[in-house]
């Protein structure tokens, strides 16, 4: 089982859109996939029309007793672990347990026989949870909007990885919401795009992605022939290759 975290400390960069579409592509390519909604907002669950069971809460999550709360999506090979509002304090809870950065790894270990791929949709923070996510993941994928601010938050992630003594090869960034008409976008891509940690695939700013909120489906389903669908598929292939090689 490969754990792929979609993470950025910055909000609104396209993490959830990425997690939703990549998990679909992964499942569609035949891999048994679980999308874990780690964000108490529950946006990933919203796109797949899945609500958490009422009985689901933080305690069970921390115990690693995830099985009963996983729900099937409408698509073959793809399940979802919904978020719960009690995840809001997951950080504090992790802290209570001794502040270890390896808790999450332990929690997910129980799923390794059932799934080939775990995709984590993470909330925008830098906290103990972020550290746990980085430790648990085989690959941390970061959407970067080609702006100075976004680049800074990626730099922050690299620093955190170094602090945790995690190999930088476990990090991968890609440009998200790219608008080629904007000079700043093209400049930043030209400057950083060739760096090793950047993937070749990009996701442009596309109406079909925005409209996911209306259709509540991955773009490969709501707009199967769209350039958005193609772009995510390509991104998935590149992410998977990195994940396997990392």
């Amino acid at each position: 089982m490969k754990i792929i975290a979609i993470y950025s400390s910055k909000g609104g960069v396209g993490k959830t859109a990425t997690a939703v579409n990549l998990s679909y592509d992964s499942a569609h390519s035949g891999k048994k996939t679980l999308l874990c909604d780690m964000d108490p907002q529950g946006a990933a669950g919203y796109y797949y029309r899945i609500r958490a069971k009422e009985s689901f809460n933080r305690k069970q999550f921390l115990k690693g007793d995830l099985e009963p709360f996983i729900r099937g999506t409408d698509f073959e090979n793809l399940d979802l672990l919904p978020a719960h509002f009690s995840f809001r304090n997951l950080d504090i809870a992790l802290d209570d347990r001794g502040g270890s950065a390896k808790e999450l790894k332990r929690i997910f270990a129980g799923l390794k026989d059932e799934y080939d791929v775990l995709i984590l949709d993470c909330p925008p923070n830098i906290t103990l949870l972020s550290e746990n996510i980085i430790m648990a993941a085989d690959l941390v994928v970061t959407p970067v909007i080609p702006t100075t601010l976004s680049i800074l938050s990626f730099a922050q992630l690299i620093k955190l990885a170094d602090k945790l003594e995690v190999n930088r090869k476990k990090l991968a960034a890609f440009f998200s919401m790219v608008d080629k008409r904007k000079k700043m976008h093209t400049d930043i891509i030209a400057k950083f795009g060739k760096k090793k940690l950047f993937l070749e695939s990009e996701i442009a700013y596309l109406a079909d992605v925005e409209k996911m909120g209306i259709y509540r489906q991955p773009v490969a389903v709501s707009a199967s022939a769209s350039s958005a669908a193609t772009a995510y598929k390509q991104l998935w292939q590149e992410v998977w290759r990195r994940g396997v090689l990392s």
């Binding site: 029309r49 899945i50 709360f69 996983i70 729900r71 099937g72 698509f75 073959e76 399940d79 509540r216």
Partner: protein
């Protein structure tokens, strides 16, 4: 979605909405279209799949499914367009392989055909999320001869429900509702096949090419003979249609086995019925043996094609291919002759006479010894036959001529038939041991004979080629030469194993068994 699939038996047409009437208001059903498929259940003439609890069906023209009755495995693959395909027509996939091991060289014949109307549906909650899905299927038997005015017969159907992980409660509620409506889970494809076969007045145990008959030890031998002859006659008759239609090569083979058994039994009851009767029918049966022979001989070579290919180096393969092409052509010609003979007035009237004789005259023409108990006669015949095998066999040494082995082979065959005819009169386990051990001896003798027949046939073919001077004659002749050499060497091997095989047949244990059983 998970694999949590339930299948309910529907006795007849039902509305989906009424089946799911217990669904709470916040859910709704989305119907996703109706499809109609023709499904054809296939099995060999002797029900080989059914006997191994397997089921094969074709959906539409070329989509094939092979599954076990219990459904633990299910293979689905595209297959050949043949209406009655042979396992070798399938490509190399898992399905073809499985068919090959179970059905072997037998054709898959349509046993029942149905149309299946399926309606898929999804049940969704308020978020338009699928909470379970399913299909409603209705099966109708297609009358076999497509007679006009023949109404299709309903075979009931099924309701399949496929749960989604994490949404078990709603499915439980629905299944409770179905239980209240009196529906049973446990629908299977096999069930539909059985219903179809019942409608067609068939069942899967009608035919076995294995000979088996239960005799009463006290009944007279003439009665026993009558019963055995009858079963053999049915065995021949049943195969005629398949030979004429040329579904597969086993029809002719089984026909000829029944024929040989009949001739052998007839030859062994000389003191039991009037000799004139024996002579009369022996000739007719022999004629049938003669006109069915050529196609069978060719089948034997054509079936061994792979073996032959493996005997020759690359350079001789082309000649071999040409040789087989020639055989296939020849077979077609011989098959036409065989068809004519089997449809001739002469054949029909002979078979009718034989049947008439078995039904009405055989008991009347019984001599006094025909009234002896069949067990007594059986023991005596087996003992006699056995003694002569032991005698001739023990005299065969490394220098003995081939003809002695051939004689022994025929005697062993006759003994085998006797053991099979009268099997039910003796203890089963002991008979099994003897038959098994006799079979080993027969295999050795049979191989030896086959190898010499093959060499002879190939040699004759070679000579004929030389006379005709066809354009590829040299290539073919070279291939045949290669084969003959190979077969000759193999035959020497088999011959060298004879003494040892015969010794294993005449062990002290076997002798004890023989004396014990047939005293």
């Amino acid at each position: 979605m998970n694999e949590n699939c339930l299948a309910y038996i529907l006795p007849g047409p039902v509305e989906l909405a009424s089946l799911l009437s217990g669904l709470p208001e916040k859910y709704h059903i989305r119907e996703c279209g109706i499809s109609v498929d023709t499904i054809c259940y296939l099995d060999t003439f002797d029900w080989r799949l059914n006997n191994k609890e397997l089921l094969c069906f074709r959906i539409g023209k070329t989509s094939f499914v092979l599954t076990s009755f219990a459904g633990e495995f299910k293979l689905q693959e595209e297959g050949p367009t043949h209406e009655k395909p042979l396992p070798l027509h399938f490509s190399d996939g898992a399905l073809g392989e499985k068919l090959m091991t179970v059905a072997g060289i037998r054709a898959l014949l349509p046993r029942a055909e149905i149309t299946r109307k399926s309606q898929c549906f999804q049940v969704m909650n308020r978020d338009q999320k699928i909470v379970f899905s399913g299909s409603l299927e209705l099966n109708q038997l297609i009358p076999p001869d497509n007679e006009e005015g023949c109404q299709p017969v309903s075979l009931g159907g099924s309701l399949r429900l496929l749960g989604v992980r994490g949404y078990d409660k709603i499915l439980e509620k629905v299944t409770e509702g179905l239980k209240l409506q009196g529906l049973e889970a446990g629908y299977s494809e096999e069930r539909t096949l059985r219903l179809a076969l019942t409608e067609l007045g068939e069942n899967s145990h009608h035919y076995s090419s294995q000979f088996s008959i239960i005799l009463d030890p006290a009944e007279s031998v003439i009665l026993a003979a009558q019963k055995i002859f009858f079963q053999l006659l049915k065995g021949m008759e049943r195969n005629v249609f398949g030979i004429i239609e040329d579904f597969d090569t086993e029809f002719l083979h089984d026909f000829r086995v029944a024929l040989r058994r009949t001739r052998s039994l007839l030859g062994s009851i000389k003191k039991i019925v009037h000799p004139d009767d024996i002579v009369r029918f022996q000739q007719g049966l022999k004629d049938i043996g003669t006109f069915t022979g050529p196609v069978r001989d060719l089948d034997v070579y054509l079936l061994a094609k792979k073996d032959y290919q493996s005997m020759l180096p690359e350079g001789l393969q082309e000649g071999l291919t040409l040789f087989f092409q020639g055989l296939a052509k020849q077979r077609l010609k011989e098959l036409q002759r065989l068809r004519k003979a089997l449809q001739s007035r002469k054949f029909h009237s002979f078979m009718a006479q034989w049947q008439e004789y078995l039904e009405n005259s055989i008991l009347l023409s019984s001599l006094i010894s025909g009234q002896k108990s069949c067990k007594e006669v059986a023991s005596k015949s087996i003992r006699k036959r056995l003694r002569s095998i032991l005698e001739s066999g023990s005299q065969i040494g490394p220098q003995s001529p081939d003809t002695e082995l051939h004689c022994l082979r025929i005697q062993a065959k006759k003994l085998r038939y006797l053991l099979e005819f009268y099997r039910s009169l003796f203890p089963e386990t002991e008979m099994d041991i003897l038959v098994k051990s006799l079979k080993k001896l027969q295999d050795n003798l049979g191989n030896f004979n086959d190898l010499s027949v093959q060499q002879k046939m190939l040699g004759e073919y070679q000579n004929a080629l030389a006379l005709k001077e066809q354009k590829n004659a040299i290539k073919v002749a070279a291939a045949l030469g290669g084969l003959i050499t190979h077969l000759y060497e193999e035959q020497i091997d088999v011959r060298n194993k004879f003494e040892q095989t015969f010794e294993q047949f005449t062990t002290v244990e076997n002798s004890k068994l023989f004396t014990l059983l047939f005293k």
